[in-house]
């Protein structure tokens, strides 16, 4: 009985899948860093919005369960076999994905990276979620907003190999000598390795080593929540502020308890929306070159720079005044 039921369900599902595939003229695949990440799920929703708007576009959303380049290579190989028209990837490793991306391009599939880049030879264009400089500046501004222009700060990052995080840290270091931030003293950069327990422990270590520490900047969703929890557990709320990049739904609690005053994130819905539009533009145009302006619906147009890169505007800042509204969305 049950088996029969299951089989008939599978048959219906199969029928539906084929009919959907037949209806769509263009299939765009979105490959985020991993499944189970609310940020990328919001990006998928943005992608679906764009697909609906353009019409005749089917968005395929798939990624490995854990953040590995190997997992992404498998997923991309499967997509090549399915002959999708374009693949938009947020890469787990800029270099490791190049061969499989080249293979896809050789078969006529348009490859672009968004959020986290693939090396230039492995993609036709890249869209930054915000310029690295923009993200770095926003984070330092939030630190100043919390404690004023003077004090010790530390960074709690993901892993020493994380492409995005390293870029932002570099940019922050470049910005520190400028007048606006010259009295902020960066005492340390620690790594939480994308794990709650390790991030928590590193936060405690920072608090112990630097008794005058005022701000921990955590440009990673796992690190920022673990750091905020550690600051709370140490009864340091009000003495040490955590800021950085994270999702409203995950950080709303900490904003209300005060361990986080403000944090930023680009709008992942806009990111997924724009990436899907750019993928569609690539399919239409066959080829792009520096200086091209690509249409992206309600986001206006994106201009490619000479490295064939473009970016969303500055990240958006969330604090007690707006976090509840956005925490319902992502």
């Amino acid at each position: 009985m049950k088996l029969k039921h299951l089989l008939s369900m599978a048959a219906i599902a199969g029928l539906m899948a084929t009919s959907a595939a037949m209806a769509a003229d263009v299939r765009i695949a979105m490959v985020p860093k991993s499944l189970g990440n609310a940020f990328f799920e919001a990006a998928r929703d943005g992608g679906n919005e764009a697909a609906k708007e353009i019409g005749g576009v089917e968005l395929i959303f798939n990624a490995p369960a854990v953040v590995t380049a190997e997992g992404q290579i498998e997923v991309i190989n499967a997509l090549i076999a399915q002959r999708v028209d374009a693949i938009a990837i947020s890469s787990n490793d800029p270099d490791a994905l190049v061969p499989v991306a080249k293979k896809a391009m050789k078969r006529g599939i348009k490859v672009l990276s968004f959020d986290s880049a693939i090396a230039p030879e492995g993609r036709m264009l890249h869209m930054h979620p915000a310029t690295a400089a923009g993200a770095a500046k926003a984070q330092l501004e939030m630190a100043v907003d919390a404690i004023g222009p003077e004090g010790e700060i530390a960074i709690l990052s993901e892993t020493p190999q994380s492409t995005n995080q390293n870029e932002w840290i570099e940019e922050m270091k470049k910005l520190l000598p400028s007048d606006e931030f010259s009295k902020l003293k960066l005492v340390d950069v620690a790594y939480g390795m994308g794990q709650s327990d390790k991030s928590y422990r590193e936060t405690i270590a920072l608090l112990r080593r630097y008794p005058d520490l005022k701000v921990i900047i955590a440009p990673s969703t796992v690190a920022i929540s673990a750091a905020a929890k550690a600051v709370e557990d140490q009864d340091m709320v009000g003495k040490v502020y955590v800021t950085g990049l994270g999702l409203p739904s995950e950080l709303a609690g900490y904003v209300h308890t005060g361990s986080i005053k403000s944090f930023a994130i680009w709008n992942p819905i806009d990111l997924g929306y724009s990436a899907t539009y750019l993928a569609y533009d690539l399919i239409q145009k066959e080829e792009v070159q520096a200086g091209d302006e690509l249409e992206a619906g309600r986001m206006g147009s994106f201009k490619l720079d000479d490295k064939l890169e473009t970016s969303l505007p500055q990240p958006f800042v969330y604090d007690a005044s707006n976090v509840d509204k956005y925490s319902k969305i992502f």
């Binding site: 189970g36 405690i204 673990a226 709303a252």
Partner: protein
Amino acid sequence: MVKALKSREALLAASWIALIVIAGIVTPNFVTVQALRDLLTDLSILMVLALAQMIVILIRGIDLSVAANLAFTGMMVALIAVANPGLPTIVWPVLCIIIGTFIGMFNGLLVAELKIPPIVVTLGTMSVWRGMIFVVSGGAWVVQHQFPEGYLSVPRTPILGLTLFFWIGLIVTFGMWLMTTQTRFGRELYGMGGNPRAAEYAGVRVKHHEFWVYTITGALSGLCGWLWTSRYAMANTDVALGFELQTVAACVIGGVAISGGAGTIIGAVFGALFLGTLYNILPVIGVSQFWQQALSGAIILIAVYFNMISRKPPVRRILPQAASQGVQE
């Protein structure tokens, strides 16, 4: 043999204290009352899970699914807690233990009844439960403000200066010590680990014991699901990823023989205390991330080597003793 093991545990205890003293010299902030309390709190999860791992290793098995069990159980109970915030806090640990027990029983059935090698079984169930976290949660996180108040605050309650986290660790340690030293079941595990066939001939119910060892390990892993999600106020698919290897390392450092049959609860606990403290201290004294990984790896290797050279004589002595006892009976 007792003497050798005792001295080994004394050595581990001494090196544990030495670690803390070194950290204290480099960073005086590390040896305040509050800091030591935090340290013990942090060690409790590794302690419990290392003990869960220890009894499996003792019978020549291994359980690679402990961390996945922890993560799945943690997510399940977190989701239940979010949906029913009004229930009394005691429900969460009890639920965790129940779910963990079932997961453990599943491992136990596959290992004891179907005779599939434990490393294969638990490698499989590790993936199964990791995947199931995604299935039950849909990939969403459960975070701090969603948990009911008691879920997060109760384990943090200080009792006689130490948090409930650590007391749970101590209670589990005591219980496991009682089981392995004072009960027939516990003593027979050593026999099974030393020589499963001989144990069977001697009347040990090997299958039955195997099943229950994996079940107990599952129950303890489940309990850790509550401890972990409460401590870090977070349940997601990546919770405790790779943590199973830390539990094996803690056992190895604590002198538990990977080949089974040798090792003590106290040894495993000190192994966990040592390893956990190392993870806490390296960042405090300013060792870079790269060196942290290399150093903890090197220390595990040294411990294994230490085990090899220190175990040879006792092993030779255990067998004749056991044999002569058998003859006398």
